[in-house]
Amino acid sequence: MLLPSRMAVLNHMFDKDEVDVKSVMAALKDDYGNEKQFNEKMYLDHLMALEANGLAEMSSYDLNENGDLVMKYRITDDGKSTVEKYVDKRYRVA
């Protein structure tokens, strides 16, 4: 069985320097891509909620070529220890 998606997002971030909503979704597409909840709004929600809980932090932001705001996030030490403590080993990326 797959991880709950918010947990999968943080788990994915574990060994990445920086992610944004598009790169997260690209990485999780194989597992979650066919689900109705697999959309940018929901996944940006996941990133922002992880940030609000101190498990991730915004590393940078800029506009893309369309002039849309792109926020980049990285996992915090708290986030890493939360993954290490609570995410089952067989799901872990590193």
Partner: protein
């Protein structure tokens, strides 16, 4: 090409502007969610009282059966509404996935503490100590902050503490009425205190990796588990409980009100958890406490509750307290951008 150049020139500024707007929107959404959770919790509290005014609930024997049947059905209804909501979002599969994880299991322990245990203790406290139980239960935000401080190292600021104290003080003022012939007053207060501690602890259990769980999924599990536990395990243990449950299930009026109450509770919990994850637990909880104000207002409007000075003063104190928790009131007087 031309437009590309102009974007280059202004990109830094407008990225900053957009970022500031996004951050502000997040904050505003969090606070609005907290306020909505208080409002809908007030509606829910009022409607449960309305539902309990119909037969067979109103004429049920004993002090335990009716509250547990009513609150169990309410929670179950809320859980069912949330199933529809999450199905619409395409998130139903998340429920099973969440229960399989360690944080999910910790959440369930918290749900049992905050659902049947705290709710049960609160209802018994209300029955034994009357309205005095309400302000005691409102101290759950203090316990929540205290436990978060001890276990989670989340240190509240002085301003947040002051606001929380004001919220509790307001709740006490609202409910400052002498108990009339309450037989087991002290036991009732102890029950309300147990409820407050259990509600405070629920927040802590939600924090063992619970931040990795989608709150809309978590709250769906909470209402389903709480409702099923109350109806399948607690109600059968109460004398006359099963019979009352059967009678209520076949009575249209209370069932209709409980279904609407369940929807209010569902909205309240979704927005409460959302507020907690967006603006932090202390702020979320304190905004939610405004339910005391709304609950009183609706009782005055729809249930014939008398409007007294203590109710007016207490409600104002609670709302002011919630504002102090949320923001520094002095910021209102500072001009210019932050």
């Amino acid at each position: 090409m031309n437009s590309g150049k102009s974007i280059m020139n202004t990109s830094v500024v407008s990225a900053d502007t957009q970022m500031k707007a996004a951050g502000k929107k997040f904050q505003v959404t969090g606070i609005s969610n907290g306020l909505v959770s208080g409002l809908t919790y007030g509606i829910y509290s009022t409607l449960v009282v309305v539902a309990s005014g119909y037969n067979p609930l109103v004429s049920a024997a004993g002090i335990l059966a009716a509250p547990f049947v009513a609150s169990g059905l309410n929670d179950l209804f809320a859980g069912i509404w949330l199933l529809f909501y999450n199905a619409k979002q395409g998130r139903l599969r998340e429920l099973g996935r969440t229960l399989k994880t360690k944080p999910g299991k910790m959440l369930v322990i918290g749900f049992l503490l905050g659902g049947p245990i705290a709710n049960g203790a609160y209802l018994v406290g209300l029955a034994l100590a009357g309205a005095y139980a309400i302000p005691i239960s409102a101290t759950c935000s203090l316990f929540g902050a205290l436990f978060a401080w001890i276990f989670l190292k989340q240190r509240p600021t002085k301003r947040v503490v002051l606001g929380m104290v004001m919220c509790v003080a307001g709740a006490i003022v609202i409910n400052f009425v002498k108990p009339e012939g309450a037989p087991n007053f002290t036991l009732g207060i102890i029950c309300a205190l147990i409820a407050a501690v259990a509600w405070g602890l629920e927040g802590v259990f939600s924090s063992f990796g619970g931040a990795m769980i989608d709150t809309d999924v978590a709250v769906n599990l909470r209402e389903l588990i709480s409702g099923l536990f109350a109806l399948l395990i607690v109600v059968p243990l109460i004398g006359g409980g099963i019979k009352l449950l059967g009678g209520t299930l076949s009575a249209p009026s209370p069932m209709l009100w409980l279904a609407i109450a369940g929807m209010s509770a569902a909205i309240s919990f979704v927005s409460w958890y959302k507020a907690n994850s967006m603006v932090g637990c202390a702020v979320g909880m304190s905004l939610n406490v405004t339910y005391a104000f709304w609950g009183v207002l609706f009782s005055v409007m729809f249930l014939g509750q008398a409007l007294t000075p203590t109710i007016v003063i207490g409600s104002i104190v609670i709302v002011l307290g919630a504002i102090v928790v949320t923001m520094n009131p002095l910021d209102l007087f500072r001009k210019g951008d932050a």
